[in-house]
Structures are given as C-alpha cells and as structure tokens.
C-alpha cells in the first residue's frame, strides 16, 4: 500500500452511516414533539413541509438551483461578469470538434436506442420458448451490473489491435485472422470506432431491456396466444401481430429510458478513447470544456443536452399524470 488510509476518513464514513439515520430519527421525533404542541390548524399546515423538507432541500440545492444557474451561465462570459448573448452557443454550433460530438450523440441516439430495445425484445421472445430460459437470462444480464469503466477495459481487449504480421491477441482481430482478413484498428479507424463504442453500450444494456420486456411478456395471457394459434397463425405472425403490439407500451417506456441513456452517455467514450479520433459525444465534450475551466461553454453544451431531453421530460410527466388518474 502506497499510502495509509486516513483513519479520519474511516471515522467520518462511520459517523455518516450511523449518524445520518440517527440525526433524521432525532429530527422526526423532536420535530413531531414540537409540532404536536402547536394548534391543530397550524399542525396541518406545517407538518408536511417538515417531513418533505430534507428531500425538497436536497433536490433544490443539487438540481433545481444548478439547472437555472447553468442556463444563465450559458449566456454569460467565462468569468461570469457580462452577458455575451448567444456566443457560447455559436461556438458550439460552429466549432468542428463540437459538431462532431453532436453528430456522434445522434448516432448513439439512433443506433444504441434501436438495437438495445430490439435485441432486448428479440432475446426475451426467443428465451421465452426454451427451458433453459433463466440460465440464459443470467448470461445476457451479466454485463448490466458491470460498470462502464470495467466494460470499457473488457472491450479494449476485445478490440485490441497489433500491426499486421504480428500476433493478434485481441479476440476480434484474432477471429478475423482465422478468416485471413487483415487486422482492423477498431478504435482508431474513424469508420469503425463509433460503431464499436456504441456496440459496447448496447452490450452493456441489452440485458436491462430484456428483463423488463420479458416481465411484460410473461403477463400476456396464454389464451390470447392459443387463440391466434388455433386461427392458424404461425410463430412469426404471432410475434409480429399479437405479441409486439401488446408489448408496445413497455417498449416505449424502455425506449425513452434508452434515449435518455444515449444522450447522457459519458463513461464508455471517456474510458475507451477519451474522445480521440472523432469519438467525442456531447457529454465528453462538455466535460472537456469543464476540465479546462471553460465553464460558460460547458454550460451551453449542457443546455443543448438538456433541450434534447425536454421532450422526454414532458412525455414522462404526461405518463405520470395518466397513471395518477388511474390510481
């Protein structure tokens, strides 16, 4: 060990683990003691805010306030001293590097979302028809708990490239070698690197989509499927005309989650290529601006990302309101 772990750090952590619930416990008990002594009308008024305050406070400090602040900052200069109008946005939409990151995020949006949901659906349907379903599910789901950092290392080995003529230790290039095709520099070559990164993303998340889709697949009554079979529908027709429409609500929910994931994707490009060779996405681009203290520009990039997500935010709220009406 290069450095002794600070004892103070461990103590702070222990204090936090034990202390926070204790403090909240005290807050509840003491607060309720005080509130119960107040007149009834005042109790009714003050109690809910007392209970919701910690949550609302955290959400305000770490999400609502920063959100507003970032929007403002995106129209300011870097030192936050004057208004610069749309300068930061103009930079974003004219500088070649940031335009590349925008293009790549669009690629992620389309291909990551489509294949994650599509493969999740296909695998869920296929596995529903075999006896070893639960075992195969574990295999497909395995990458989900693995961090993007670890997944990136896993796939750097899969995509590993050695100059032609030397031994290929990367799995994919070795495989290509057996077909006597030259090694491909997957992560450097600008036609293969973005698809390669997007594939890593798909590989990591398909199990997630599969599990959710599979859960609603199990909820489709067998009678519906039986009726279709008796009517003479073959398996493909059943999947296309009966199962998929019934799963459609779930597919849209999973799809919106994947779109949000795709827009926010950061870890995989950051660890695998650091955005080199034109693999930057919006989030890595933003982090680069932030790391080089270009705060105002970073804020503008963040706002662009947020605007892309706003339609989904609206969809989510609408769906929530519909569910509330059904409660």
């Amino acid at each position: 060990m290069d450095q002794i772990i600070g004892l103070d750090q461990i103590i702070t952590a222990l204090v936090a683990i034990v202390g926070v619930p204790l403090v909240l416990f005290g807050y509840i008990i003491l607060g309720e003691q005080v509130i119960e002594r107040l007149p009834d009308s005042m109790q009714e008024w003050i109690r809910p805010y007392f209970w919701a305050l910690p949550a609302i406070g955290f959400a305000t400090i770490f999400m609502v306030y920063p959100l507003v602040r970032t929007v403002i900052l995106s129209f300011r200069n870097n030192g936050d001293t004057t208004w610069v109008g749309l300068d930061n946005y103009q930079y974003f939409f004219t500088f070649p590097d940031t335009l590349t990151s925008l293009r790549n995020s669009l690629l992620w949006l389309v291909f990551y979302t489509f294949f994650a949901v599509f493969l999740g659906l296909v695998i869920a349907i296929l596995l529903d028809r075999v006896r070893y379903e639960s075992l195969a599910k574990v295999a497909i789901f395995l990458p989900v708990p693995i961090s993007a950092v670890a997944a990136s290392i896993i796939w750097r080995f899969m995509f590993d490239y050695q100059p032609p003529g030397t031994i290929q230790t990367g799995t994919l290039n070795a495989l290509l070698g057996t077909f006597h095709t030259g090694p491909v520099a997957w992560l450097v070559n600008s036609t293969t690197n973005n698809p390669a990164l997007i594939f890593v993303g798909i590989w990591s998340i398909t199990g997630f989509c599969m599990v959710i889709i599979s859960a609603s697949l199990k909820a489709i009554s067998t009678e519906v499927l039986e009726a279709a079979r008796i009517d003479g529908a073959n398996e493909f027709q059943i999947v296309r005309l009966v199962v998929t429409p019934l799963l459609w609500p779930t597919i849209t929910v999973v799809g919106t989650t994947m779109i949000i994931n795709a827009l926010k994707i950061f870890d995989i490009p950051y660890v695998m290529t650091s955005g080199a060779y034109d693999t930057d996405v919006i989030a890595t681009q933003m982090f680069r601006q932030l790391a080089t203290s270009h705060y105002a520009r970073a804020a503008a990039v963040g706002v662009v990302l947020f605007i892309a997500i706003v339609p989904l935010l609206v969809v989510n709220i609408r769906r929530f309101q519909q569910q509330e009406e059904q409660r």
């Binding site: 060990m1 936090a16 770490f62 961090s147 859960a215 870890d267």
Partner: protein, 300 residues
C-alpha cells in the same frame, strides 16, 4: 413461470405424437437454440476473456490471446493483481470507493423515505406541483448541474472531499427514490394508517413503526441499485474529486487507462477487482435486483 412453460410445452405436445415427429420437432427448433447460443456467447465471452487474462502474466498476454490457456501449459499467475495493488493510489482508491458508497447510499435512502412518506400520506398545498417537479428531475442530465454544484463546493471548501460526493450523489439520486418509494408507500392499505391514528399514534410512530417496516422490500431493492450506481459511478467522482486523494477506484482506473498507453494490460486485474462486488451482488441477490429493475421501469 414454470406453470406457464408447462402449458407452452403442452401446445408442442400435440405435435410430438410419435418419436419420429418428436425428432422432427426438435430439428425444427434447432435454429432457435443456435441463435440463443450465439447471443449467450457474445454476451459472456468478453467478460470471460478479461477474467482469464487477469490471471496471466504480462508476457503471456502479449504473446498470445486469452483462449490459448484452454490448452496446457496454462501458466496462471496472480502477478497482475500484485502489480495493480502496488500501483500508486489503487489500494487507497478501493477503500475510498467503500467510504464513498456506503454513506452516500444511507444518506439518500434515509432522506428519500422520509420525503416519500410526506408525499404519500399527507396533504399540503403545492404537493402535486412539487411532485411533478420531482418526476421531471428524474430525467434531467446531471451534466446540467455539474458547474454550479462544483462552484458551490469550491465556495464552501468541500471540493475534493469525500463529503462532496456523498452530498452530490444524494441530491442526484433523490428524485427517483422519492418517486419510487412514494408509489410503494401510497400503495399500502389506508386502513392500517387510519386505525393507528385512531389509536393515537402520531406521524412519527406511524412512519417508524408501520411505514418503514412495510416498505423494507422496496428499500432493499433500491439499496442494491443505489449502492451499485454509486460504486460504478465515474462522472460525479471525476468532477468533484478529480485528482484528490479521496477519489474512488473507477476514477483511478480511468486515469490509469489514459496515462499508461501501451502497458495497460495489468488493468485486467483492476477491472476484475472493480466488477467483483457488483457481480457478487447480482449473483447472490438476483431476485431483488431484477425486481428492482422491473418495478422501477414498468410501473414508473
């Protein structure tokens, strides 16, 4: 599930009247098994290759691919693990990851449960609006918050400390947790709370004695998620800790990947160490894990 699969088999049973048609039925299903086998292989082999490579020496790794160990001499060694643990900052960062993850998880779940109780069982003006804001915040990218929160931490001298990431993770996790727990708490039978109220139990008692114990299944699933989310996080720690000595394992690994260039092979061991905990959690707590995912997304 098993009941359903037997009914499915029963449909197949009409086909397999004789042994001959049974063979035909099986042949017909062969492509199905092959396609599944290909999927399973693509989803397992990369991880397997990494784990195998982590037990090989650097020379072996450079001389031949991981699949060569399937034939003798196998040449397994723990050299990569020794090397990675001796690398600067690695051992410390593993401890840091634990010191970050446990408190961050406890803090946000404690606060979220309390807030969710208010949203589920109390009436107050503005409640619906507050809750719609929370639903909206669930999808707001944390990128939108990084700069102001970073400046806020700099202002109160928390930047680069472990406490900064506890607080930040708690703030980011709360909307989803409050949302999920409020739906769960709201689904509990009203009669229980009402009869407790008639018996003179105040909100503190109703929350601690009734609501929390009955919500344990939801809290358990959520704990696994939050824990792994924080353990696997890169962006939040990278932003608020950067090169601080308090930075977690994921940050150190990502920094080693970029700084090492060619000689990064021993990072196989680092990746295996990093994913060991999530994989163990998944394998041993599979039920909670899958339940958490399905309840979070389908109902949400």
């Amino acid at each position: 599930m098993s009941v359903r699969s037997t009914t499915r088999e029963a449909t197949g049973a009409q086909v397999r009247v004789s042994t001959l048609s049974n063979i035909g039925y099986r042949l017909q299903r062969l492509p199905l098994h092959i396609v599944i086998a290909v999927f399973v292989a693509i989803w397992i082999i990369p991880t397997l290759g990494l784990i195998i490579n982590s037990f090989r020496s650097l020379q072996d790794m450079n001389a031949a691919g991981w699949w060569t160990v399937l034939f003798p001499p196998h040449g397994f060694t723990l050299a990569s693990y020794e090397q990675v643990l001796q690398t600067e900052n690695v051992a410390t960062s593993i401890v840091n990851s634990i010191l970050i993850t446990l408190p961050a998880t406890v803090i946000q779940l404690a606060i979220a449960t309390m807030g969710a109780y208010a949203f589920a069982w109390m009436k107050f003006p503005g409640k619906d609006i507050f809750f719609i804001v929370i639903v909206g915040l669930m999808v707001v990218p944390i990128q939108m918050t990084l700069i102001p929160v970073l400046q806020f931490f700099q202002l109160i001298h928390l930047n680069g400390t472990i406490m900064a990431v506890w607080l930040a993770h708690s703030g980011y996790g709360l909307p989803f947790e409050v949302f999920l727990l409020r739906n769960y708490l709201g689904g509990l039978p009203r009669e229980i709370f009402e009869s407790a109220e008639v018996d003179g139990a105040g909100h503190a008692v109703r929350f601690l004695r009734i609501a929390v114990p009955m919500t344990i299944p939801a809290i358990a699933s959520l704990t696994i998620f939050v824990f792994l989310g924080v353990w696997n996080d890169l962006l939040v720690a990278l932003t608020y800790l950067g090169t601080s000595t308090a930075r977690p394992f994921t940050v150190v690994i990502s920094q080693l990947v970029t700084s090492l260039g060619g000689g990064w092979q021993f990072l196989t061991a680092a990746a295996v160490l990093q994913m060991a905990l999530p994989l163990a959690v998944f394998i041993f707590l599979q039920r909670y894990f899958v339940r958490g995912i399905t309840s979070g997304s389908v109902k949400g």
